[in-house]
């Protein structure tokens, strides 16, 4: 990495550095600074999302970033949705420990190419979704209403999501979600997010980790992901050359929504690259 910086192959590398005993995100510009470089074996920060923010301000720089399996899937979605340019991002594949893979119940705890380290075994555990599916409808509904009722509307699940980037967020649309209402209108608030992420959720689980109320939101998104896979044979984050089923009009067998108008946002995220 130090060589890449010295040879100017990349202008900077976004990673983690040790600060006061905590690994926290940092952009390394000076090769000397890499002495503080660290990898967190337990905690994941939404680095690809941080990268969007940096790339928007510095669109011409090539920035390096270490990527795990989930972060690679996130990048795939961000490239496809024009939030980052593939030629401006230099990735270094890193592996997750088996411990982390188990904890995340990760189906692919490594990226497509790995610089070093041993790949952890994929974990295929959908027992959480199956358990809910097996409940009678009424009980299932009550379960989710109880869970959603805990929501304190912190927007953390959206803020941390490495596949969420819209300049105007439907969860802040006054006509859909009443501003100031607490708790948010359930289940509309959560189902909106689930629907919007249906063909983008890369199943990293950061949303659930960020939820201060312990709502199992990932369980919901996993179910939606599964539905999209079963219906359209599409898995978000997997291939660069596949479009999400919600991004184009199909063969007419699904209802086509009316013409929409894009509102200019005042939020900091801004519109994507063209």
């Amino acid at each position: 990495m130090s060589r890449l910086l010295r040879d100017k192959e990349v202008s900077a590398i976004l990673g983690l550095r040790m600060s006061h005993g905590h690994p926290i995100p940092y952009v390394f510009v000076d090769p000397e600074a890499l002495k503080d470089w660290t990898v967190d074996e337990i905690n994941r920060y939404p680095l690809t999302k941080v990268l969007i923010k940096i790339a928007k301000k510095h669109p011409d720089l090539v920035i390096g970033i270490p990527v795990r399996g989930c972060e690679e899937r996130s990048l795939t979605e961000l490239f496809k949705n024009h939030q980052l340019k593939p030629d401006k991002v230099k990735v270094f594949g890193i592996v997750c420990s088996q411990e982390l893979a188990n904890r995340c119940r990760c189906e692919k705890p490594y990226p497509s190419s790995v610089e070093e380290g041993e790949k952890a075994k994929p974990v295929e555990d959908f027992s959480d979704v199956k358990k809910i599916e097996s409940l009678p409808e009424e009980e299932r509904f009550r379960y989710w209403m109880d869970q959603f009722g805990k929501c304190i509307k912190c927007y953390g699940c959206r803020n941390v999501c490495p596949a969420c980037f819209c300049p105007t967020c439907t969860l802040e649309d006054r006509s859909l979600i009443k501003p100031g209402g607490m708790p948010p209108e359930i289940p509309i608030f959560h189902l909106h997010k689930a629907y919007h992420m249906a063909d983008r959720c890369i199943d990293c689980g950061l949303c659930e980790e960020a939820c201060p109320m312990g709502i199992p939101v990932r369980r919901l998104y996993r179910k939606v992901r599964k539905t999209v896979k079963d219906l359209f044979g599409y898995v978000p984050g997997e291939a660069m050359d596949q479009k999400g089923p919600l991004e184009f009009l199909g063969d007419g067998s699904y209802e086509v929504p009316g013409a929409g108008k894009i509102r200019v946002s005042d939020s900091g995220t801004g519109p994507g690259f063209e």
């Binding site: 995100p25 510009v29 967190d40 912190c154 201060p212």
Partner: protein
């Protein structure tokens, strides 16, 4: 322009919970907040106030210097002038109506030590037990 991005570990100032978060500093400007994943209090979560804690830092309407109302309009004054005004008026009220006519409300935006100092000041200097904290309001 040279790129600089760092995150700064700090504690949320909004309430007494003391959640840990990271302020994202891009090219010298605070642009975002991330919950600290390994903080024992919030363990990677934040409430909506914490998630937006960076917003007031560069806000145009943020109060940066003492203002005093003169002839019906707020005017910028020195710290000495502002503090002298406050202390002389408080002293006048205390002399005229007694120390229990004064009360103090401390803030969660201050540190534990500052709050300790504040209640000490209210009790020992002003001479009243009328002291409370915004987290109890």
């Amino acid at each position: 322009m040279m790129l600089s991005y760092e995150t700064v570990l700090t504690t949320c100032t909004y309430c007494g919970c003391g959640c840990g978060f990271l302020l994202e500093v891009l090219d010298g400007e605070v642009v975002g907040t991330l919950p600290q994943k390994d903080h024992p209090v919030n363990e990677g979560g934040l409430c909506i106030k914490g998630w937006n804690a960076h917003e007031f830092i560069h806000d145009q309407s943020r109060l940066k210097r003492p203002l005093m109302k003169k002839d019906g309009a707020l005017k910028e004054v020195s710290w000495d002038e502002a503090l002298n005004e406050v202390s002389s008026r408080l002293r006048k009220i205390k002399d005229e109506y007694g120390p229990d006519s004064i009360g103090g409300l401390a803030s969660a935006k201050c540190t534990n030590e500052e709050n300790y100092l504040f209640q000490k000041w209210i009790r020992a200097v002003v001479g009243t037990n009328n002291v409370d904290h915004c987290a109890r309001l």
